[in-house]
Amino acid sequence: MSCCAPGVEAGAALALQNTPEADDDTLLAAARDLGDGTCQLELGVPDVHCATCIRTIEQGLGGLDMVEHARVNLSTKRVRVTFDPKKGAPSKLTATVRQSGHRVMLLDAIVEDEDAKKLSHLVRALAVSGFAAGNIMLFSVSVWAGADAATRDLFHWVSALIAIPAVGYSGQVFFRSAIGALRHGRLNMDVPIALAVLLSLIMSVFETARGAENTYFDASITLLFFLLIGRTLDHMMREKARGAVKNLAQMAPRRAVLVKGDGTREAIAIADIEPGMELAITAGQRVPVDGEVKTGVSEADVSLVTGEAAPETIKPGSELLSGTLVLTGAITLVAKQRAEQSFLARMIELMEAAEGSRAGYRRIADRAAEIYAPAVHLLALIAFLGWGFISGDWHLATIIAIAVLIITCPCALALAVPMVHIVAAGRLFEAGIVMKDGAALERMGEAGHVVFDKTGTLTQGAPSVTEQFFGDAAALSMAGKLARLSAHPFSKALGIFALGDDVFAGETHEVAGQGIEGKDEDGIWRLGKKEWCNGAEAATQAPRNAMAQSEVWLSYNGNPVAAFALADAPRPDARIAIEALVAAGYEVSLLSGDRIGAVEKLAAELGIKNVRGEMTPADKVAHIQALQAEGENVLMVGDGINDAPALRAANVSMAPASAADVGRSAADFIFTRNSLTAVPATLELARKADKGVRENFALALVYNIVAVPLAMAGFVTPLIAALAMSTSSVLVTVNALKLRFGNPWLTKRRPTSRASSSRAEISHPEPAQ
C-alpha cells in the first residue's frame, strides 16, 4: 500500500453506513465536555505513520468550521479534536478523516485513570531524585577527594539540605507501598528499601550535626534514583500496552436502535433494552442482546460466538446470541433477555468463576522478598547487638547496623525482575505482541501445554479466496467491483482477491441470503450463491479444490461466467508455529466449538493430535481445569466470546487482535500481526526472561555474599557503598539487555510481513469503518 493512499477499505466503507463512527449520538456520548461550549473527542487513527499523514488529518479537520483545534499523536495513533457541537454534527469529523484516506475508530471516553496520574508522579519523582543525586554526588566526590574539616561540614550540610526534601518527595512511592504491606502484616521488597533510605538519611543528618567524617546522603538518594528508574520504566511499559489494547477496534455494540410500536426509531443504550423490545439491526452490526428474528432474512457470522466458521442463514424465528454479526440484510429482532443476562454477560460470569489458577499465583519478586527482607533485617540486628555488646560502643553499633541495611538494600534485587520484563515487553512490542503485565510473562515462562481454539485463532477467522475455478480475468475484475459494495465476508475476500479498488458503477442491491445484484446498460450481473447464478451445470465441468468450504458465483443475464472457491484458511505460518511448539517439547491441543469434522480436518493439516470439537465454553474451561489438575500449566490461545472463560481459566493466555472485546480483555498477551509464530516467539522469550530473572537473582545473591560480611565487619565507607550499589544495579540491567538479542522468531525479517498484515486487516470479519 503506498503511503497515505486510500486503501481498498475506502470502497468497502460505502456499504457500511451504520457504524458507531457514523452515529452522532454515540460520538457525542464519547466526547468530553470542556465546559466552554466545546467538546473534546479522541479518535483512533491506526494507520498514521508519517508527517504527511499528520498534515492531511490535521488540515482536513482544521478546515472544518466546527473544529477549534485538532492534533494528531503519532505515538498513540490518535487524534484529539476540540470542536463546537453547535456548529456541526460530530459524524462530520469522522467522515472528514475517512475522506482523507485514513481509517478512524471510536475509542472509549477519555478517562484520566489512576495509573496515568501515577506515571506522571513517578516521572516527576524521578526528575527530582535525579537532580538531587547529581548534586549530592558532586559534594560527596569532593569529600572523598579529601576536603578538609570546615569544607566537609559545609558540603555535608548542603547535601542534607538537598537530600531531605528530595527523599521526602521522591520516596513517597516506596514509603506508601511499604506501609501498606506492613499494615497487612507482610513484608515486600519496598520495606527494606524504605528502611534503608530513611535510616541512612536520618543517620547522616545526625552525623553531620556531630561533624563526623562519613555521611550516606549520596547512598540514600542514588538508591532512590535507580529504583525510580526501574519503577518508571515498568509503568511506562504497562501504559504503552494499555494504550495499544485500547486502540484496537471496539466490537461490542454501544447503542441499539429501538423500533417503537408506531414504527418510529430511537437510539437507546444497551443497558436499557428490556425483553420484548423490538430492535432494528442493519448489516454489519453485532446483535446486542439474545433475541429472536422477527422480520428480515440475512446471513450471520457466529465465528466469535460459537467458533463455527461458515456463515449461517437467518430468517424470522431464528434465535441469535449476543455478539453475532449480521452480514447482509437488515433484520428486526425481538429481545429475549436483558443485556446482563445475555450470552456475553453469561460468559463474563463464567470467566469470573474460572479465575482460580491465577488468583493463587504469587509473583517471583514477592516470593524472593519474603525470604530476603527478614534475612536482611535479621543480619542488621545481629550486627547491631554483636557490635554493641562486644565493643560497648552503641553509637558505632548503630552506624554499622545501618551500613548493613544500606549495603543490602535490594537495589539490584528490586531491579532484577522489572528490568527483564521491560526489555522483554519492548522486544515483544516491536514484534506486534502486546504484553499486559509482567506477571503474565512469568506465568508464560512456566507454561507447558498449549491449547488452541480453531476459528479465528488457528485460522484467519475470515474466508479468503483459494482459487478461481471457472471464468476468465475480465469476469474476476467484474466480480471484484461488485464484491466491494457488500459487507459479506465472502465479498470482502473476493474484493481483495480481485485486486484494485474500483466499484461497480451501475445500480446495485443486495438480495439477503442470495448475493448482490448489479444493473448496467447491458444487463444484470449477479454475484452470490451457486443456485442463484444458475451455476449447477457449469459446476459439473469445473471441479473445485476439495479443501474449499464455500463457493461464490458470478452470472451475467442468468449465465454463469465465473466461480470462486473460498475457505477459512489457516493463519500464515500456523503449521510452522505448531511444529516449533512440538519440537520445543510443548503439548499442543485443539479445542473448538465447530463441528468435529471441520476441526479434525484442520488438525490433520497442521499436525495436532489432541483434538476436541463441538465444545461449549464450559466444556473448554472444564478441559483446561482437568489438565491443570494433572499438574500442567496451560497456555490458552483463543479469540471468541466463547473462549473468554477458557482464556481466564488457563494459567496464561493469548488472543489475536481480531478477537472479541471480552476475549482481548481476558487475555494476557495480544498479537496484532497475522502470523501465529507469535505464540512460539512469546513462549521462547518468556523462558529466556525467566532464566534472566533467575540469573539476576543469582547476581544479587553473589553481591550480597561479598558485601554483607564487609558491612558487618565495619569496613564499608560511603564510597564503597556507592560503588557496590551502582555496580550491582548496572550488572543486573546489562544482564537484562541480553534479551534484546537472539530468538530467531523475533529477529527474522520477513519482507512480506507488512503486505500480509495490511491485507489481513482488510479481510477481517469486522466492518471496516
Partner: protein, 57 residues
C-alpha cells in the same frame, strides 16, 4: 575558598533551573508524542504547539 561560596549556589541554581525546565516541559505536554515530534520537523507549515494546547490540557 571564597570562590566556593559563590560557585556552590551558582551550581545549585543552574541545576535547579534544569529541573524546573524539565518539569515545565513535562507539564506542557512536550513528551506526549515523541514520535510525532520527530516527524513534524519535516513539516514546513507547522505553527507552534499553540495557545489552544492549553485548553486541551
Amino acid at each position: 575558598m571564597s570562590g566556593l561560596l559563590a560557585l556552590i549556589p551558582i551550581a545549585l541554581f543552574l541545576g535547579a533551573l534544569g529541573l524546573v525546565a524539565f518539569l515545565w516541559s513535562l507539564r506542557s505536554g512536550q513528551y506526549e508524542d515523541m514520535e510525532g515530534a520527530a516527524h513534524r520537523i519535516l513539516d514546513d507549515d507547522e505553527g507552534p504547539i499553540s495557545e489552544e494546547k492549553q485548553k486541551s490540557e
